[in-house]
């Protein structure tokens, strides 16, 4: 198999930095902290043409639903400054075809896999979780309760603590107990910390922060919305500070919960920013559209960035920006939790 040459030399003539890049998301251990992001890597096969996907922390698959789904009409994308708006609408083959074709291929290929699942109702999430429970080759489940490209967008599960917790509890209960369950949350909420805490109490082993943030682009030639679905999810470097903010806020109230950081990462430096804010591992999303070989380039750049700052282990950099002025990591011992939780 021929693959693209690695064009971006990260360390000049320097030897590869001696940094322990082992990462973990709850009980799931990975040789690299760099993963793909759900919806930006299909099920890994296409990217395997450009780099060895078994070197990744894991492939995070496109969100799978119970039945086949056509997704939304086109146009589905619009380019924005340092970002893009998408309105794909969770197109997919349904969980059974996914297991037969995609999961089987990933398993045979030897890739680590986080399966992202989505549903229109709590029962659908539960049904998918029960079907996946019977499958081998799944390292973790990511519960997508925050896709903005659904018709009842105003009511996505992750917009409310009680509905988010309901789905998480259901998936946690229905899944293999040895496999971590991560909840992917939306930045489009008034109080993310409360929703994050509700998910943790409902049994989430970790959180994926963040999904896209909702936007609209109007085509000034046609003077109509650019996307057929009108609204879309904004991604790319434009939203990186929002991702860093969300990771920061959640880390402040949940000092121990594993966080998979996502949002606008296009270099090792960007990945480091999310890690310093509290992410234990980082997904690379929209950047893959521009540079399909980006994940392993970012892995290499991150190793150099860590070594440059004196870290010998990636794990030591996680949440490092939260340390107090004396160098100790600040921990909020007793975050205020609303009584109803």
């Amino acid at each position: 198999m021929t693959r693209a040459v690695v064009r971006y030399d990260t360390g000049g003539d320097r030897p590869a930095p001696n940094v322990d890049m082992t990462a973990s998301l709850s009980t799931f251990e990975m040789p690299s902290p760099i993963l793909t992001a759900s919806g930006c890597a299909a099920s890994g096969r296409e990217l395997d043409q450009f780099f060895d996907i078994t070197r990744l922390g894991a492939i995070v698959t496109k969100s799978i639903m119970l039945e086949p789904r056509s997704g939304r009409a086109t146009p589905r994308i619009a380019e924005t400054p340092s970002g893009m708006l998408n309105s794909i609408g969770l197109q997919g083959p349904g969980v059974h075809a996914f297991i037969e074709h995609d999961l089987a291929w990933l398993h045979e290929r030897g890739a680590r896999v986080i399966v992202s699942i989505a549903g229109g109702a709590t029962q659908e999430f539960e049904d998918i979780a029960k079907i996946l429970r019977l499958q081998e080759g799944i390292d973790a489940i990511e519960v997508n309760i925050s896709c903005p490209n659904v018709a009842d967008r105003g009511q996505v599960f992750a917009c409310r603590a009680d509905s988010a917790a309901g789905v998480v509890a259901s998936v946690r209960r229905s899944s293999d107990p040895s496999i971590p369950v991560f909840a992917k949350l939306s930045p489009d909420v008034t109080d993310l910390a409360t929703i994050a805490m509700a998910c943790e109490r409902a049994g989430a082993d970790g959180l994926t922060l963040i999904n896209t943030t909702l936007g609209v682009v109007i085509d000034t030639d046609t003077m109509r919305p650019a996307l057929a679905g009108v609204t879309g999810g904004l991604s790319g470097p434009a939203i990186r500070p929002i991702a860093v903010r969300c990771i920061w806020q959640v880390r402040e109230v949940l000092p121990d919960i594993p966080i998979l950081g996502v949002g606008g990462v296009r270099s090792g430096r960007d990945a480091l920013e999310l890690i310093l804010a509290g992410a234990s591992a980082v997904s690379v999303g929209t950047t893959v559209f521009r540079d399909p070989a980006a994940p392993m380039r970012i892995h290499d750049e991150l190793a150099v960035a860590l070594a440059d700052r004196g870290f010998s282990r990636l794990a030591d950099a996680v949440s490092y920006a939260h340390r107090d002025p004396d160098g100790e990591v600040e921990v909020d011992e007793d975050p205020e939790v609303p009584e109803w939780l």
Binding site: T2, R7, G39, E46, I77, P292
Partner: protein, 286 residues
């Protein structure tokens, strides 16, 4: 299997309303078949605010010569990304992923083929014409555009085709009208059994219909807007009927860009036809 490579601009030259970018792409010419396309990144990775690749069908390849392997792409200066590409000068770097997509299927027998291009959609047809001729096929070409400046490849067509028919909507070159006004006559005269077409969706829809009415086989390369070009973003989909008679939203970057004309639901592009696999069951959609 595509290659991601850092190409170097060899030249940018004007061709009517368009420009032809020649860029080095080591390893790409040997893999390229007519109908394949290339996806180019815009600007520098660390600083560019334009994140999406631009896709162009490959007009020609040179696998040897002083520059090593190069490819030619026909580009219209229509937006920020294409404008940036056309500002490149000899020696500038451009990140290329190519060859991509499913190319034109070539006939096993030396049958008569009619090639139809609209605007710069004609770009991949000349490599195709050459390969068809090598197989002993008769090749007739029909090129059309709104006006003479927007025709592409008239001279190249004359070199490789038995007959060339030119149409412009304003009558500034060739026959006044559209390619589809003349296609039936050209196919009749040539005894065409296969039509290859590339251009705007409306033209492809009309070409497919004419081909079908004559019992000819049609291969249409679509121009659908793409974000990644490699099959991961799901943005370039259109409704296409499979061998099993089921319509699916398929990616034009990996399942296409070349489709059998009669399989594409041309009139319903931009919608989800209600009988599509997984179509929404309620009004308002997904």
């Amino acid at each position: 299997m595509p290659v991601q490579t850092r190409g170097e601009v060899v030249s940018v030259r004007r061709a009517g309303a368009y420009s032809v970018l020649t860029v080095t792409a080591p390893g790409v010419p040997e893999l390229t078949r007519p109908g394949h396309f290339a996806a180019l990144a815009i600007g520098d990775l660390e600083t560019s605010s334009l994140l999406l690749r631009r896709a162009f069908s490959i007009n020609g390849v040179q696998s040897r010569g002083i520059y090593g392997g190069t490819i030619d792409l026909v580009i219209a200066d229509v937006g920020q990304g294409t404008h940036w590409l056309l500002q490149r000068r000899r020696g500038d770097a451009v990140d290329i992923v190519a060859p991509l997509g499913r190319p034109f299927a070539l006939p096993r027998e030396p049958v008569s083929c009619t090639l139809v291009g609209g605007g710069y959609g004609s770009a991949p047809l000349f490599m195709l014409a050459e390969q068809l001729r090598e197989r002993g096929c008769r090749v007739d070409v029909v090129l059309g555009a709104s006006t003479e400046q927007r025709l592409f490849g008239v001279l190249e067509a004359k070199r490789s085709a038995t007959t060339v028919t030119i149409t412009t909507e304003d009558g500034s070159a060739g026959e006044r009208g559209r390619v589809t006004d003349h296609l039936d006559v050209v196919m009749e005269r040539a005894g065409a059994e296969v039509v290859y077409a590339c251009g705007p969706m409306g033209m492809l829809a009309a070409v497919s219909e004419i081909a079908a009415s004559r019992g000819a086989y049609s291969q249409c390369a679509v121009e659908e807007s793409m974000a990644c070009g490699i099959g991961v973003c799901m943005s370039c989909v259109l409704p296409v009927m499979g061998d099993d008679g089921v319509t699916r939203m398929v990616r034009s970057c990996v399942e296409g860009p070349v489709f059998r004309g009669e399989r594409v639901r041309w009139d319903e592009i931009g919608t989800i036809p209600p009988d599509t696999l997984g179509a929404p069951s309620h009004v308002g959609g997904h």
